[in-house]
Symmetry: C2
Subunit: 336 residues, 2 copies
């Protein structure tokens, strides 16, 4: 197998760290590895496969000879550097929201629309984490019974806001337990023993960016402009792995047995649905796993052809780094 | 105003403690106070309005001369003692699920169906906490635009499972932060930095008791057997105050301005809906408050006449003790 020259852009972040860990776990064929970050981190060392790598400052000329750029350094950085990546002939798989809705950029979940990978012009976008965790378990149902409407309420971990946000949850929790006032740096409101509406900008219609991403990206990934979706995105005091309560309306009657059957056979999901033990998807069990956990399957008595479910998925893995690396494996025909 | 002889059944629990605190805050007219609990707690002392009261063991003959029993000692205790309360001529306002669906027992939220109070035969049931927190803000909308369907995902605090459950969250959180294995006593799964499907029994259709309560109680309180509801109930690592993501479908088009207007004028709710500051209902702000906080108002683009909202309410106060005491105030014509 051809070995690739790989650059990781934003290697010091929570997703950057997962890129390294997943590349190692999956024995990704790497010839040369370039670790890029902001000037602040340049000169620090990171270990990967028994070798120490110095972090370099990401610059327009960082991509000469590079085949693959895995990027997760913020939308502004992606927008600034993408033209240079493309000019250098590399493929950028971008985990930010910079290009997701660009009609020239494929937006891909390998279990759903792998064929879109080969339509790229140098950049492939990785969907929003909540979108991925929602759609991987919904697609097998969509494929057999077409979903017309999705209602989703999210239970999102602090990891989605980065490593500092995870630290803030731990620090604030310690402070609250000790009777002190929690220190707020990353989030606008206390996260310890609290929840709040997702900390992304609210648009004119009252939806926040996170919710709008879920609506728009679903249409693009499913190639279905008719699918209707409403989301409420909530941040809760959990470290990593997002959960979502999903209520779907299918275009035909689908039995729970059939739902179970398609979910058991579907790639990327694991059915966790033991009613007797009240054992269903939980974020601590989704953490570190490749699959999205799906369960709490119920026929929704309040609407025709409705199904209710609950899912948990590792926001940093399948919701970010793993999905990007799976795209890279398909793009470069690498067997994981 | 006539002063009442009041007994509190289950005074050592989380709701029992709130009964005392709210009776004191609202200057409830009490002639004699009787504190009842299981034999385990008998003989302990509790302070109320500058006086120490000894806890007595709750027995069939505990209710002689009592006017009002506020009970929250579990369904089995309520079922066992209710006939004795009624025989003694007292009114029992019961916070357990024992009698909620009994056709002879009114199920009351004072802001919604106060007229049902006067149909009692000795027992009035206090609805489930998640039901109360959902319906107080929905009723003003229901009244003007009739709601045909409710989709709800809950974010429930540990307080709903009692005082020991709140302690378990704190203890487990300390253990996790110290790198130790969390000790499980009350909940079947780790609650610290985790969530799980509500820990009530799962029925044949896959819904848990908590979800079924929300469906059935809504129909009874609204006197509307046609209203359709689907719920997913989730326990999250929060101490008290439940939150809920609500998606409603009205029978006519209602603008957000009209929704805001009816919510501003409605009793028992407080509109918290500042899009610019991304400031919406949060459990830490609902804690200790009488009102249910409601916000995140949006027109739901995925369905006709749909509105999405988010609510937080103190599970121990309006979700339990306060609602029961408000019922008592109406039943005995007491001005709060």
């Amino acid at each position: 197998m051809k070995e690739l020259n790989v650059a990781i852009l934003g290697v010091t972040g929570a997703v950057g760290e997962e890129f390294l860990s997943i590349l190692e776990q999956r024995n990704f064929p790497i010839a040369r590895l370039k670790l890029l970050a902001s000037g602040r981190s340049a000169g620090k060392w990171i270990r990967f496969r028994e070798t120490e790598y110095a972090i370099e400052e990401a610059k327009p000329n960082s991509f000469e000879g590079v085949d693959l750029v895995l990027s997760s350094a913020g939308s502004a950085v992606s927008r600034q550097l993408a033209p240079h990546v493309v000019k250098a002939g590399a493929l950028m798989i971008d985990n930010t929201s910079a290009f997701r809705m660009d009609p020239d950029v494929p937006l891909v979940i390998p279990e759903i629309n792998p064929e879109d990978i080969f339509k790229h012009h140098g950049v492939i976008a990785n969907p929003n984490c909540s979108t991925i965790i929602m759609l991987v378990p919904l697609f097998p149902i969509y494929r057999v019974a077409k979903i017309g409407r999705i209602v989703v309420a999210t239970y999102q971990a602090t990891s989605g806001a980065g490593r500092m946000a995870m630290e803030e949850l731990k620090n604030q929790t310690r402070e609250v337990l000790e009777g002190r006032t929690p220190t707020k740096k990353v989030f606008p409101y206390q996260i310890a023993f609290n929840l709040f509406s997702h900390n992304s900008a609210i648009k004119d219609d009252g939806f926040c960016e996170e919710e709008i991403k879920m609506m728009r990206e679903t249409r693009k990934i499913f190639h279905d402009d008719a699918i209707r979706l409403v989301a409420t995105a909530i941040r809760i005091p959990i470290l990593r792995a997002h959960s979502e309560a999903l209520f779907i309306e299918c275009e035909r009657k689908i039995s729970l047995d059939e739902v179970r059957q398609v979910l058991r056979e579907a790639p990327g999901v694991r059915l966790v649905d033991d009613r007797e033990k009240n054992y269903f998807p939980m974020p601590i069990e989704a953490t570190g796993r490749d699959e999205v956990l799906v369960g709490r399957l119920r026929e929704d008595p309040s609407v025709e052809n409705g199904i209710a479910l609950f899912v948990s998925g590792d926001q940093l893995r399948k919701g970010a780094a793993l999905n990007a690396i799976q795209i890279a494996e398909l793009a470069f025909k690498i067997k994981p």
